[in-house]
Amino acid sequence: MIRLLVVDDHAAVRAGLFSLLRREPGLVPLGAVSTVAEALREARSLEPDVALIDFQLPDGDGLQLCRDLKLLPRPPRVVLYSAFARPALAVAAKLAGADGLIDKGVEVDSLFDSIRAVGRGEEVLPPLDPEMISRCTARLEPSDVSIFGMLMAGTSTADAAGVLGSEQREIEDRLRAMLGDLLAESSTPG
């Protein structure tokens, strides 16, 4: 049995997902909320196994929420369920420590399969193109590149802080800044 928290600011998506999940054997939706603040409150009290979160939220984004959730005493596994089109979101999701990234256009059964896989402890992230990682790295502050490398290799922020001899808080701040840099718009002519 996988206990789930749904976070999506679109009421009809939230309702649709909730009713679908309730019908699916083995999946138990505990609640459905629309903001980062509500999600954190519910995650603290309900302690879900998996949080299924949208990328765009009214008071933040799914990646920042993912970091917040991962710092809870009993962190849920996190699946980003997103219609966001940027390929670089895969890099950002990996960096943020998300366990899954699922496109909102996929078949419902495939969504359920992915949730179950993440519930079992697997990672459901799209493959990362080396060219894309290269382009993403070029968007970062040069001083962040080594932290980026460690985190992408799966090092926790606590361990990275230990290796670099800095505070975990500091590494978390750099990580959040990098998430913004990764998805920054490139320049248009002008």
Binding site: A12, A85, R86, P189
Partner: protein
């Protein structure tokens, strides 16, 4: 270049000197020859007057005409100016001060117009890109989200109805998914996010695949694996030119085959799009996509050529300057990714 300061004789001085010279010759002629005019005027007097004055005026015309000849050449040169080759400047003819000053003033005005034009094209292209981005975002965030919600609800419904009604709902679900795909496709066309994240080569390959699948035209796409690094603006221009050229081919040319080559040529990147269609006739609308391609190319100093193909069709060529030195580092190579 001689006389850049326009310090030569002024036109006024020349006309003055020429007139003076002609009157001097006429006067000398009158003084030294037995020609006289007396009252009452006789027929021979009238003839002498007519020929004398006529000769003087004609001589004047001839000499002044030569003086003003550089002005005519300057006018011709000015008329040759063409807005799409904005680097053209009028050469300085002659050394008359007014001509030199006029040429220089005209060239200065071209400089100002060109820089104004460049800025305004830049502003309007940037505004166009921003607007496309905004529309793409709204398509995604609003229509995309609503369609996702609809899809989830239809799927939920399909799971709760008896088997015999499920087929109709499956059909509805498929139609909704198709619409969602179309909306996303339009958003992708408006704002190629792939370009930012995966680079020009992969973005162009994906473009060819998508347009080929949609149109049924066979698009042969060849992209060099190692391309020189381009500035983001240049990548966007190349992508838009490829998009525009292929779209023209598919919509208007009636071509059966099209080919796109993106290759390295020394430090440059060369983009070639060719088809075997009707070709671009003289009836191509100004202000159409072709104009847009030219404007975009001009803006980043790239060279765009559109020629008829052999034996038919159209060939579009875009040459972009690579950044051979000082390009962005490729840190993944040092980090051990890929």
């Amino acid at each position: 270049m001689r006389n850049r300061n326009g310090s030569g004789t002024s036109l006024r001085t020349r006309v003055f000197l020429v007139n003076g010279l002609v009157f001097l010759i006429a006067g000398t002629f009158l003084a030294l020859t037995p020609v006289t005019v007396s009252l009452p005027t006789s027929l021979s007097d009238a003839l002498v007057l007519t020929f004398g004055l006529g000769g003087t005026v004609l001589l004047n015309l001839l000499v002044i005409g030569r003086t003003f000849a550089p002005l005519s050449r300057l006018i011709e040169a000015m008329e040759r100016f063409e807005p799409l080759s904005p680097d053209y400047r009028v050469p300085i003819y002659g050394n008359e001060r007014e001509i030199v000053q006029l040429t220089r003033a005209f060239n200065d005005m071209l400089d100002r117009i060109e820089s104004e034009r460049r800025e305004s094209v830049q502003r309007s292209l940037a505004a166009q890109e921003r607007e496309r981005q905004r529309i793409a975002q709204e398509l995604h965030d609003e229509i995309g989200q609503s369609l996702t919600a609809l899809l989830l609800q239809v799927e939920g419904l399909a799971r709760s109805v008896p088997d015999e009604e499920r087929d109709a709902l499956a059909e509805l679900s498929r139609a909704t998914r198709d619409t969602l795909d179309q909306v996303r496709d339009v958003a992708r066309r408006l704002r190629p996010e792939v370009l930012d994240d995966l680079g020009l080569g992969k973005a162009i390959t994906a473009l060819c695949e998508r347009l080929g699948a949609q149109s049924g035209v066979d698009i042969n796409c060849a992209v060099d694996a190692e391309l020189p690094q381009l500035a983001p603006e240049a990548e966007l221009v190349a992508y838009r030119v490829a998009q525009e050229a292929l779209t023209n081919t598919l919509r208007h040319s009636g071509a059966e085959h099209a080919a796109l080559v993106l290759e390295r040529d020394g430090d440059d990147v060369l983009l070639t799009i060719a088809d075997d269609g009707r070709g671009i006739g003289d009836d191509a609308q100004p202000g159409s996509g072709i104009q847009g391609m030219r404007e975009r190319a001009l803006l980043i100093g790239a060279r765009l050529r559109i020629d008829p193909g052999e034996p038919s069709g159209t060939v579009v060529r875009l040459r972009l300057d690579g950044q051979p030195y000082g390009g962005r580092p490729r840190p993944h190579e040092t980090l051990g990714y890929g």
